[in-house]
Amino acid sequence: MANPNGIGASVRRREDARFLTGRGTYTDDISRPNQTHAVFVRSPYAHARIRGIDAGEAMTAPGVVAVLTGADMEADKVGSLPCGWQIHSKDGSPMKEPPHFPIARDRARYVGDAVAVVIAETREQARDAAELVMVDYEELPAAVTSVKALDGTAPLVHDDVAGNLCFDWHLGDAAAVDAAFAQAAHVAKLDLVNQRLIPNAMEPRAAVGEYDRATGEHTLTTTSQNPHVIRLLMGAFVLGIPEHKLRVVAPDVGGGFGSKIFHYGEEAVVTWAARKVGRPVKWTAERSESFLTDAHGRDHVSHAELALDKDGNFLALRVATIANMGAYLSTFAPSIPTYLYATLLAGQYKTPAIYAEVKAVFTNTAPVDAYRGAGRPEACYLIERLVEVAAAETGIDKAELRRRNFVPASAMPYQTPVALQYDTGDFAKNLDIALPMVDYAGFAARKAESARRGKLRGIGFATYIEACGIAPSNVAGALGARAGLYESAEVRFHPTGSVTVFTGSHSHGQGHETTFAQLVAERFGVPIENVEIVHGDTSKIPFGMGTYGSRSLAVGGSAIVKAMDKVERKAKKIAAHMLEAAETDIEVKDGRFVVAGTDKALSIGDIALQAYVPHNFPLDELEPGLDEQAFYDPKNFTYPNGCHVCEVEIDPETGVVEVVNFAAVDDFGRVINPLIVEGQVHGGLVQGIGQALYENCVYDEESGQLITGSYMDYCMPRADDVPSFAVQYHEDQPCTHNPLGVKGCGEAGTIGASAAVMNAVVHALSDLGVTHMDMPATPERVWQVIQRHSHAQAAE
């Protein structure tokens, strides 16, 4: 490594000093002169007709500037929040796409649905006045759970969506699957629920709208993972503001996990209202609002069947899933249980035939969309639970059954029966590394030792593969995406050799300011402190699709590489001129531009100075300056993969599950910053363990009230809930189609961990005859399972 802060160096995050000392600038830190404050009046009912809104008393309350409703938005021709992905049902019909207005007009469709906004001089005055807005609700029966909402008798969330069915989609070859099942020696079956989760970013959502009457420019500062996408969706579809008159800024953002990808109504309301009241309008969600209105994640109910031959070879997989969309379609909601879920159902296995059916359903609950992993954890959980059931039923060791069915490294690139083509991966190698990390051979002895202490011990595996680096735009377009999915970058050398990199990716905890700077340090030998990474502002960045789906490095980083390629090409020409050599003789070595075979060399700083002070410069061939832009559109998805192994110990007296050992072996392709990668894995694992053992979004099934509306009831994993993780990665299988060879690491932990934990839990309970239990494995649920099976055993 030429540069101590180059590729492969565990550079400490440069942004952390700012965050850890409270000097970050988050949206709520921004206050504008003459600013007003918005507070939303939200529906207390899951489903209600809005018969009228009387804002008279609220309007006269102290400090109130305006009370605005859906009718005001309608009068101003404000549109519906658009959906960014269109799915077609089996019969070819497009998905049902009912309007989703920023403020509800005639009906409120979930608890928390906005029905009015109060704008006042202070936040407390707005809160006071919001309580005075009299909404005449006619409460309606609610459809709360996905399965009941589909039963044909449930109340309709949208009058024109029959049976609450948004779409009925499928993927794969049903006939081939049927034929394979007919030949099967064994069929493993499983019904499972992938429960709904609430994202819980540390920073609640917030937005500040501004309007400059002099220029006609709107500015929205918002907690977004992708400000350009918000500009496009809100400008073009909701408010009718052209891009050149709309600036969207996403400054420091305190975590997203997917929940800040989407265009939310509050963003449109503050932007629209700022012009209406002629003053900046600021809104910051309270934590209670985050629980109620941030797009939730997961919420699948599935039935799955795996056909095996007599030797344990997988013949076919059949999956039927009901996916809860919530009350409205959030920005990318339809893509999650389809192209980010069913396409991953091959997992790491060479299962020749797969067929998946997905019914998406509207309910009177908060919208559901991408949440860390987004479809892929649901796929991994289903496959890996089913494989473990198959192992238990056939008596084949679960590690061996997996190994027997892995797509071998020699078969890469491998076309799955569900649309994807894996480029690289050595799944057996991941397993080989993982097994000694957990002393798999020594498990029986550890289990016996646990038993002596009255504890139940189990070990579980999860092998995962995900499709990241989203996405080749033409492929995504063919599958229903209504946007491109490339990324842009600009690399601007300044006259004295420092560099500003503009990226369309967005960092909200991923460490881009460090990792991306390492790319530049490596390439041009620039000290890392001379590289600034700028993101999150549509007025500065050429364009951007943002950060989600573990795409920042694979797509955004590749765009930076392409821009650096252009810089290097131009710099070579300048160097050739300065060194009086042929351009073809200029080589780049350790960031220096060298005349081959000589000691004549220039640093990029020398070249940059000449580019901006072009006294000795080929002005007849080249423009001055050293500032290049590039867009990168990926050729394929990337396929991070790995093997997670979890060991748990259960206290049968209380049902408490303790994760006592966890090993994660990951293939992320090439790793730029191992320290940040390890941090991403740790965070992901905790989130996955959170789903397996703690987190559960619960609505009252009749009233649709959110029961887990605070941390008193919604259980987040804490540091003392998890063990020290054993984490390893290998770089033997770099991505073949992007210039960095990187695959992405942001979601991996979340994808593998839930399945590994639940497989370990079920394994620990298997001596009692337990074959499955749903997440989360809370103490009472585990205790109840133990009670039922102990009584069943006693009765035998």
Binding site: R127, D128, Y694, M712, D713, Y714, C715, P779, E780, Q784
Partner: protein, 264 residues
């Protein structure tokens, strides 16, 4: 929060006078329940009377072989007190396990017992350690103090000043935490005074209660095995998404055994 008038009296008499002036006034201890309640606009007091500057409400002393602890003594002070550790170590352990560090640094003994949250820890110690609750008007036996869910024997305007705990021969507190809130789903405080044993249960029911069958069994044989087969009835116990009444009833026995084992 709604607006309120904030007061910071320096004497008990001043506090009582302020409290008497408005029916809507509330006392502020460590604020660990009241402030979140106010932030969520679930309460609307006219006045908030902060007891934090009143010296006579603070401090821990040895008294009649037991401990007298001022109402405005924070959980962390009890947890880290050498005196409490020496005289009733189980009480220090209980305080050390309340909430989290931030809660322990703010929350107070008086605030906890006056709020009478069914899942609070201290009520179990008040009952098991045969405490006496002293107020600005009278003394109330610990057994009579808690009258229901969030209800106590206090009269309007009455202010708790201290709690005296009797020193047991052996004692321990075992708690099963709500995984989300980490309040007690079930907490059992076991204390032995000579031939008498007290088993006080918090979290399981609407209010702290004594498990008298367990007390009888332990009086004869102070060992975990003495509780084999003894269960409290699940009727009337609390139930929520984290724990059914049956599960709570089961956990009472488990936690009682663990407390007895810990008491040694």
């Amino acid at each position: 929060m709604y607006e309120f008038t904030y007061h910071r009296p320096t004497s008990l008499a001043d506090a009582a006078a302020m409290l008497g002036r408005s029916e809507e006034a509330k006392l502020l201890g460590g604020g660990q329940t009241l402030l979140p309640t106010l932030k969520q606009r679930l309460a609307r007091p006219s006045d908030l009377i902060d007891l934090g500057q009143i010296a006579e409400l603070k401090g821990i002393r040895e008294e009649a072989g037991g401990l007298a602890i001022g109402a405005f003594t924070r959980h962390a002070e009890v947890a880290h007190s050498d005196l409490v550790r020496r005289v009733i170590p189980a009480l220090a352990d209980l305080a050390e396990g309340i909430g989290d560090r931030q809660v322990r640094n703010m929350g107070t003994l008086g605030g906890s017992i006056c709020n009478a949250d069914p899942s609070a820890d201290y009520p179990s110690a008040v009952v098991a350690l045969k405490a006496t609750v002293k107020t600005d008007r009278r003394e109330i036996a610990g057994d009579d103090f808690f009258t229901g869910m969030f209800e106590t024997a206090l009269e309007p305007g009455e202010i708790v000043t201290s709690v005296t705990f009797q020193k047991p021969d052996k004692a321990a507190y075992a708690k099963f935490r709500n995984p989300a809130s980490r309040y007690a789903i079930v907490g059992v405080f076991v204390a032995r005074f000579g031939g008498e044993v007290r088993v006080a249960v918090t979290g399981a029911g609407p209010s702290v209660f004594r498990a008298t069958d367990m007390e009888t069994a332990l009086a004869g044989n102070f060992s975990p095995d003495a509780l084999n087969g003894i269960k409290v009835a699940s009727d009337g116990l609390n139930a929520d998404i984290h724990a059914s009444a049956d599960y709570r009833a089961h956990l009472v026995t488990v936690m009682a055994k663990r407390a007895v084992a810990a008491a040694g």
